[in-house]
Subunit: 176 residues, 2 copies
DNA sequence: CATCACATGTAAAAGGTTACATGATTCT
DNA sequence: AGAATCATGTAACCTTTTACATGTGATG
């Protein structure tokens, strides 16, 4: 149900076509709430049928420009500060950690070191993104910064944890 | 595809029934890789058909005791240190952050403070869990600790971020 | 005129959630 | 005898992923 709010949120800022929105999903929103083209187009149709969006004049290549309705804004507004909405957390990194005792210590340590490196790489890429985004005043600016900072802190946490975990493995040999 | 490895991982430690495994999912594994009963039973059948598990003697109430096969161990072993396996990260907290500029600053700040509180609560519950788990030497012990530490660090990061983000909102009023 | 960017959709399959359905054994 | 626990399964629905399919307009 969250993709719905991602779309409403983007359209609350300015009207756009499915194609436009996909551009945003590819650049910035991919880090926050990934979505595929087939999902976005489908959801736009559903939101229009539900009266939360309207379609404007047909553009050049069958382009459909979507605009948020009053009902759409109300729906979005209700969600914005809804504390109860939580996605079940699933992390393959964590699942690996849970079962890492089944691998030889040296291999497990190598795996964790590699994960630390990868997290470091993610941090670097986010910092690059930070420099390249035009902080122009849309919902992608002031509050995009908050999201970006979250990503940076998450990556840093994962790097530090993986580094620490590798030392723990060294200390305690494999069991099972 | 990860549920598959969660089950193989648990069964690599000791044979168990679907019901037993559900117990583990309810207690410890829920924090790592949540799964429902209907998912677990279905996957066990699929793993058996794929030759990665075998079913032992029928127990009391039609109980089916599953054991991992050599093929199952090989499959698990390949996955254990596979660096490429990554789940797309989706976080409602992050999505909220991204669009928080659309709410009034006071409301947005209240939301973030509440999220900080909630993260703090999660930390407390994990610390409780840490005390109550019997660290007996299974894959849930040494390496369950790693997973638990990850959870603690994640919650701490979220708490600190939400607290920091609230101050950022205070500084910059709403746009859109 | 060819290529690239624009632009929209559908179909099939996999993964996940919720609800329903049923029955056996053990404990009090 | 009744309740709790053990134990398995199915059906419907929603979300997400991957792949296919098609066509238009602008640019060099």
């Amino acid at each position: 149900m969250s993709l719905r709010y991602a779309l409403l949120g983007l359209l609350a800022h300015r009207s756009a076509s499915g194609y436009d929105l996909m551009g945003t999903f590819r650049s910035s929103l991919a880090h926050v709430w990934p979505a595929t083209q087939s999902q976005v187009y489908g959801e736009l149709t559903r939101l229009t049928n539900a009266g939360l969006l309207t379609v404007g004049e047909q553009g050049p290549r069958g382009r459909r420009e979507y605009a948020i309705t009053e009902a759409g804004r109300a729906e979005l507004d209700g969600w914005l500060t809804d504390e109860t909405a939580r996605t079940p957390q699933r992390s393959t990194l964590l699942l690996h950690a849970f079962f890492l005792g089944l691998a030889e210590p040296a291999r497990a340590r190598r795996y964790l070191s590699r994960q630390a490196e990868l997290a470091d790489g993610r941090m670097a890429r986010l910092r690059e993104l930070e420099g390249s985004v035009d902080w122009d005043g849309g919902p992608l600016s002031t509050h995009g910064r908050l999201a970006l900072e979250y990503g940076l802190r998450l990556a840093a946490m994962q790097r530090d944890w993986a580094t620490w975990a590798a030392t723990q493995i060294a200390a305690a040999p494999a069991e099972a």
